[in-house]
Symmetry: C2
Amino acid sequence: MFGVTILGNNSAIPAYDRHPTAQIVTLNEQLFLVDCGEGTQMQLSKYKIRRSRINHIFISHLHGDHYFGLPGLITGMGLLYREHDLHLYAPLPLKEILDSQLKAADTRLPFTLHFHALEKEGIIADEEKFSVACFPVYHRIECWGFIIREKKKPRKIDKDKVVLYDIPPVFYDHLKNGEDYTTQSGEVIKNEWVTLPGIPSRSYAYCADTIYAEKLACKVQNVNILYHETTYLKDLTERAASRFHSTTVQAAKIAQLANAKKLLIGHFSSKYEKLDEFLIEAQQEFPNAELAVEGVTYII
Amino acid sequence: MFGVTILGNNSAIPAYDRHPTAQIVTLNEQLFLVDCGEGTQMQLSKYKIRRSRINHIFISHLHGDHYFGLPGLITGMGLLYREHDLHLYAPLPLKEILDSQLKAADTRLPFTLHFHALEKEGIIADEEKFSVACFPVYHRIECWGFIIREKKKPRKIDKDKVVLYDIPPVFYDHLKNGEDYTTQSGEVIKNEWVTLPGIPSRSYAYCADTIYAEKLACKVQNVNILYHETTYLKDLTERAASRFHSTTVQAAKIAQLANAKKLLIGHFSSKYEKLDEFLIEAQQEFPNAELAVEGVTYII
């Protein structure tokens, strides 16, 4: 299972029971938290997502609607006796803020919090089954986007063919990794004769708060789902630019240029009670667009 | 109208749709916010309380469940173009935390935030119609209780008597302030002959997180409503003490010793789903006890 669950889809001021930004990306047993607006710990409870399963948290930037839920989430993990490590990837000033808060509360976390300052574009987490990369987006302050990718899936053994070519089972793991087999007589059995392609590896890109910037499309080429903010409808293109935000049409254009399979839009301004127009405008430019709806999981 | 509206009645970890501590005290047109746990701005929206009307915020201590909602509330006030001053009373380290957060967000508030560090017991706000005092309570870190008092109400003119004694209307305001009247012939008309007592001034005391400490009762003598924390039921008296918290019976004893008219209990541990036992235990010791229920306003 690889999917993204929306916990908050609103911009700065919570409104109409919409919450500030937070998303859970699930990749098999791994849970990643992407941004953590105020109330995220309550949203996790509401949607029955266990906070203890989150081992990696990514914070795009230090506007409060993207991280004011983090201190409560982290200190709560401590109160719940978490012992396993937690990795936090965020702009550097967050470290000082968290340290001051823990110090003021005279709190010592019972687990290790690894703080990874976001500094330059590239891979920031590289594990057996996934990698996460960050890239700059263009907001009023330092701001980062993230791509979470499955690691390339192993090839599948073609059961009839391995018998036909008489390949010993001890070599199957090498076959899955793409290696050829050489028989005792020196004959080479090509990997593609005895294996089938694995499932192609999937990816999710999160473009946090950003002004319209076509160069972002290069960073997120061919992703399965592109999340791109759409704070405003298209009639407020100038306001969007002046506040370093984007519109529906702009998000759709980035999805087109990126050749994304699906576009997910969110970070709706509190000025809009109804969201229907967001979907209509985005789909006019990019048909496979969807609204990021709180509590809904989108399969990647 | 003088009342307290509960926005959050739970202890550290939000649970069963109960929120961390926050209360709104309404005194005529004045709104005071007492503590501001995570999600307070959402609770204000839910109960249709306009954040723009809050001019004084009191933070008892720097455990997150009492202030993690504050940065979001304050920056939200800025985004909503607040221009009038805001007064914040809190332990000093909060200033540095807020300053770091504003700096990291490159945010300049469009209103003046007056930070008043809590340092010693006494009056911290003294206005025409009310005063607020703080006093130390006894928790794991520096922690303050608050008393909000109406200013003494003026005496009422007894209309028949002022005519009988032939007192000129220009002197009525002096009568309301308790002065005697001296006639031109030198005769003294005693104030109490021509006026009636005003409504006695009312008071609300908030004992934030604290271990059981009988000396608190002296600080909150004769208040109309005493809010006292009850994190645990009475069978967990030892646990309460070890964590610098109180039980139902302990809160009730303080209310008794203080001669409070009513006791309001809250800050319930997340280990309790049902709260019935809290009320039963508290009322056994102090019959006029009530649970602090979210969304309910208790008239002082």
